[in-house]
Amino acid sequence: MLIEIVDEPIGADAIVSGMKAGGDGAVCVFDGIVRDNTRGRRTLYLDYEAYREMALKQMRGLAEEAVENFRVRDVALVHRLGRLLVGETSVLIVVASAHRGAAFDACRWLIDTLKKTVPIWKKETFADGVVWADGEPFPAEFAVGPPAVERRGAAE
């Protein structure tokens, strides 16, 4: 399994060809790229940051889970950090498998789950402003709930 967080451009072609083996009947690739707008606002670039050690650990866990649950042969999961321009790859997922069904399913599950649980954030710089992207809500089991505010000085 190839699990990486990188600061340079992702060489998708080399990764994809490196994943192919004789017993594979399918390689499913998800190439997540920076779009030129969000809800009509023109995007100039995105800045990605991560809780790096934890993100890597989470990504490794997801890849292992995918191999186990979907019975695919191998998974590559690569995420890039730093400033990315429109059209550049932020995340690359490659799933190699004997059969296409499992490859498609595992690939879809990996990107959907990565986006909910792997601690990576992005800040979007538009032509007319800057915002931290709204994240997807955490799965219920990760929620800590609103903290109790100490009464002293908090209430009027």
């Binding site: 601690p119 979007e124 997807e136």
Partner: protein
């Protein structure tokens, strides 16, 4: 005891720091630490109403990792623990639209 608190994303920007040490009573939980940090931000008196709403929403939506594992408010902390405050994650390729 002392724990190390890490901030990420919008929380890091709001806190103005990436990490700090926090002094807690022995036996304190993640919930106790969050209460302490929350009280501090609500007492700044800074920001207008919209910002206060945003901060409130953020506090309700965050997750916490203790030593790089997602954890709940009831976890009892120990000397030297690394506690990370995580806003909802937004890695990958797009924001809230479904493809």
């Amino acid at each position: 005891m002392r724990v190390r608190v890490l901030y990420f994303g919008v929380l890091r920007e709001m806190a103005g720091i990436a990490d700090e040490a926090a002094e807690l009573a022995d036996g304190a939980t993640v919930g106790d630490l969050l209460g302490l940090l929350r009280a501090r931000t609500s007492n700044t008196g800074m920001g207008n109403e919209t910002e206060e709403d945003l901060i409130e929403r953020l506090w309700r939506s965050l997750a916490v990792a203790v030593n790089r594992e997602y954890g709940s408010a009831s976890i009892v902390l120990r000397e030297g623990d690394e506690v990370a405050l995580l806003p909802p994650v937004s890695g990958g390729h797009r924001t809230s639209e479904k493809c």
